[in-house]
Amino acid sequence: MHNRVKQLYSNGTPAFGAQIKLPTSASVEVAGQAGLDFVRFDPYHWTYNYETLEEMVRTAYSYNMTPWVRCRNDPWVIRAMLDMGIQGFTLPCISSAAEARAAVAAVRYPPPGLRESNRPSRFRSMPNVDHMDWVESDIIIGCAIENLEGLENLHEIVKVEGVDVISSGPGDLAAALGYAKDRSNPKVREAYDRVLGTALDAGRQVYLSTPTNPRGRERAQRWIERGARVINFEEEYRILMQEYGTALVHVQRQPEPGSGPVEARSLGRSKKQESK
């Protein structure tokens, strides 16, 4: 039982995943059927109950995908995620080397870590000591650098022993840099590239999320050329909203005989309904 993503990137091969926001195992099955290597869940920003999350993790195991999570950098939350069988972490808004070290400590058993003794049922057939080794070798610890303090301490954070992967988030990064309403500002892009570039230079892996459209794929391709090996496809709700939105515009353009030209109904149509 190896962490598929870690195995892939250790061999120099890119791993591809899906950003799952909807709290349902069905999304995980689709990712598995599509042949992806990992799924990243987001109980940090989306409302999940733990039973649902655990079922999603089980579904990931049933497709041999790495279950990855974005969660609070809090020892109790991290322990709960590990107890469910989570194998990869993205810890948001890491500000300092001390915070990164705290994340590593929360994942590992003492010494030198702080994790309390417990493990998922699926790991109970191996001796305790093997499981402890597995935790140290296979769990992926990712730190997201997305605030000013994180940017200032970037060089320290990437050196922290146990940190495997570095990522950033354009939304928070833009807000931190004073461009909350202008994510595509070149300064935001420059900072984003600097975070990932610094991590790669320090021998860390990087994680990035990219659209499934041709432009997104091109961008992913460029990052793969620069050494990125953990590529996540954009959130499923974005894929769905774009696809259905585009489809709606397409079919609304068609003429309807007998009823004259179709009334132009834009995506903001619900507002019009309200005013009736």
């Binding site: 349902t24 259905y244 009334e263």
Partner: protein
Amino acid sequence: MNPISLTNRVKQLYHDGKSAFGVHVKFPSPSNVDIAGVTGLDTVAIDPYHWHTKRETLENMIRCAYSYGMTPWVRCRNDPWEIMTVLDMGAQALAIPKCSSAAEAAAAVAGMYYPPKGRRESNRPLRFQGMTSADYHDWTQTQLLLCICIENREGIENLGEIVKVDGVDVIATERGPLSVALGVSGNRQHLLVLETEKRILGTALEAGKQVAFTCPTTKDGLEEGSLWTERGARILLFEAEQRVLMRNYREALADLRCAKFD
């Protein structure tokens, strides 16, 4: 802010000669209903018939549809208790799968309406308890929508009778089950399947019923959807989320897995 409308949006649109657009939702999650709502769609076709959806989840999905003024459309067994309880949750449209005969269609109508038109037992969703019982009865008469699906051999044989049943509003069919019924299992593009589909939907339109057509969101799929709009169909449903996601992931993966690096 105005109160959320209780009007069946799909029915209103097609009565006005306009098209209603919706999406199949298979995942048991109100978040998928949110996506349809934000996209500006008119209805969500939820499928607890084939997908395991907790009844509490189903009710919350229906609530979510109301919050966007979308018509909650539910695929439901042709069973009076199932029909009654889904209506008790607030569903405004029901799709009855595999209808074989006029008698079965009439049974669905009976399950849907209060006496004397039908046999639905007295109860209603919380959302409708603010109006008088009489007003709610009137609401059901004008707003509920019954969609009958023709997808087996008997249904195809009895099509002429089924489309005449009073209380049936919409006719639909599906290529998967049709291919099974016609002995060309799994071949959704088989000429026999396409011709039968055309005959079913054409017969319904000629009989003055409405038609719901499901299409993929691919270019070809949307062209087909538009073709049926030209023929008079006023309900167009986009394919379910799992198909859209699978296609997007697979295309991106196929592209990037063979990408060159190092």
